[in-house]
Amino acid sequence: MRGRETLALLFRSPTAIVAGAVLVALVVTAVLGDSLAPHDPTATDVSNRLQSPSTAHWFGTDELGRDVLSRVIEGAAVSLKVGAVAVGISLVAGVLIGLVAGYYGTWVDDVLMRLSDVLFAFPAMLMAIAVLAILGPGSTNAMIAIGIVYTPIFARITRASVLSVREEVYVRAARSAGAGDLRIVGRHVLPNVTAPIIVQTSISLAFAILSEAALSFVGLGTQPPDPSWGRMLSEGRGFIEQAWWMAVFPGLAIFVTVLAFNVLGDALRDVLDPRQRSAMAGTGVTP
């Protein structure tokens, strides 16, 4: 399906339009962070600490008098960057593994898929924690950890699609015309397996942002003074009874972002890959 047709079908879904608008706004916020933030997100002002939401500080201030809204705006860039790089890592690695396994089959497929089974056997969060235990905490390492965790799902989805495409007439025709493996995969196979990969990318972005927030919340992800949403939530937890706004607003930002990616992922699945929806229903597969 062409990009324009896909967009036309997506625009028929009001929830997809809202989700898309939220994500566009989020990207703009992340890019223009500094100029949009009403205050310096790292500037402390102890005389104004723990101020409730007001016209001067829409989301209130934290225990050091920093403006929570400015920090939430600044946190958008951190969350989106970590999510995008992590999914980028798993997308490139997973698609490459899936293409090789699905296209070549035989023992190559067996070895790669058993390796992916091994990675799949680890619960996602625990796997990320174990990787960070080796690499040490920090946002760069969190990106790598999350990237590793989500690689097998991209590998499996790509492989499954390649298996059905590689026997298509046009692939066999290209092969009999003397085209090399690289050309066949690049020109004929990859363009025909993109639909489920696009859907998975949107859903994985949601879960990558959620994972980064969880890792930062427990102190293994983004480190201070960078204002990651998960980190802000963790700091706000200690002041929950005096200053609910410190935890509520960063959490709301995570929730809205993840919801928007999930809704968009579902809408994309309906448009691009309706069969996968029924196959996934209720399997308990956590993307």
Binding site: D117, P123, L126, I134, V248, S278, G282
Partner: protein
């Protein structure tokens, strides 16, 4: 069927071997000396030497792996670098807390999913269906650690009905155990409830369209009886297996929820192991979670094959 069972068993053993290699590699991949990293530079030389010998870190790596694997197979997961206690005893001490939390969370998930999924399937494209779809999407997207904080704020802070954190063993005081369990169980159960709601909805919808349901209606059977005896019975049988998968996710997925509620389970133990660089303890907890995951998935696959023989035939071909 026997061929299918054997094949799945062999596959699981191969994956388990791969899992063990990765878990073993944790300690090898740590930059520098893992015992120095855990104990610090000022550590007592005798303690250091004893731990190094006990962990066998001076042996060649393949021998270390064989010894570690042989130990793990018999329940010997080594000793904690920090406390000197065996890893197994620490894991066993934390298991009841995690089991009770995961068990309660799956009950919460089913209490959400069965009514909501059934009602939305009975009224497709109605406002109820729309609400169920929206709430299951929201349930999947809400960060559990944030939901936990909101519940603490409301039920512990504002209303003062429930404790904000902590744990009381069931054997000491069952009522207090339950009071401490409610908020973490709701927090952990919401996302599984959302996944299961979607499953129940599609399963009930599929069941509603089947011939035996139409026949029962045509024979004049009451709507409620048709739902109970023909629709739900068929639709909910596979739910048992899906709920099993969710339970496996919950056993390992409650890691962050345990952190929020200071729940002394295996997740907290894993965090403590990371914070104190207690690598044998981390290896033990990661291995346990991976084994639970593998076993539950194996059982679910076998149960599916039993319920639907087409699965084993397809795989055997």
């Amino acid at each position: 069927m026997t061929r299918y069972v054997l094949r799945r068993l062999l596959q699981s053993v191969a994956v388990l071997l791969g899992v063990s290699i990765l878990v073993f590699a944790i300690i090898q991949l740590v930059p520098g000396d893992p015992i120095r990293a855990a104990l610090g530079q000022q550590a007592d030389p005798e303690t250091y030497a004893a731990l190094r010998e006990r962990a066998g870190l001076d042996d060649p790596v393949p021998l270390q792996f064989v010894n570690w694997l042989a130990g793990a197979a018999t329940g010997d997961l080594g000793v904690s670098f920090r406390t000197g206690e065996t890893v197994l005893s620490q894991i066993l001490a934390r298991t009841p807390a995690t089991l009770s939390l995961a068990g309660a969370a799956i009950v919460v998930a089913l209490l959400i999913a069965i009514p909501l999924g059934t009602i939305s399937a009975l009224h497709p494209r109605s406002p109820v269906d729309w609400f169920a779809s929206l709430s299951s999407q929201a349930g999947l997207s809400v960060p559990d650690f944030w939901l936990g904080i909101l519940l603490i704020l409301l039920f512990a802070g504002t209303l003062g009905w429930l404790p904000s954190s902590g744990y009381t063993p069931f054997t000491e005081d069952p009522v207090d155990w339950a009071r401490h369990l409610i908020l973490p169980a709701i927090t952990a159960g919401v996302s599984s409830g959302s996944i299961l709601t979607r499953f129940v909805r599609s399963s009930v919808l599929e069941s509603l369209g089947q011939d035996h349901v139409r026949t029962a209606r045509a024979k004049g059977m009451r709507a409620r009886d048709v739902l109970t005896w023909h629709v739900l019975r068929n639709a909910l049988v596979p739910l048992v297996t899906v709920a099993g998968v969710q339970l496996a996710y919950l056993l390992s997925g409650v890691v962050v929820v345990e952190y929020v509620f200071a729940w002394p389970g295996l997740g907290q133990l894993a965090f403590q192991a990371v914070e104190s660089r207690d690598y044998p303890l981390l290896q033990g907890t990661v291995l346990l979670f991976a084994v639970i995951f593998l076993v539950v998935n194996l059982v679910v696959d076998l149960a599916y094959a039993r319920l639907d023989p087409r699965i084993s035939y397809r795989s055997a071909r």
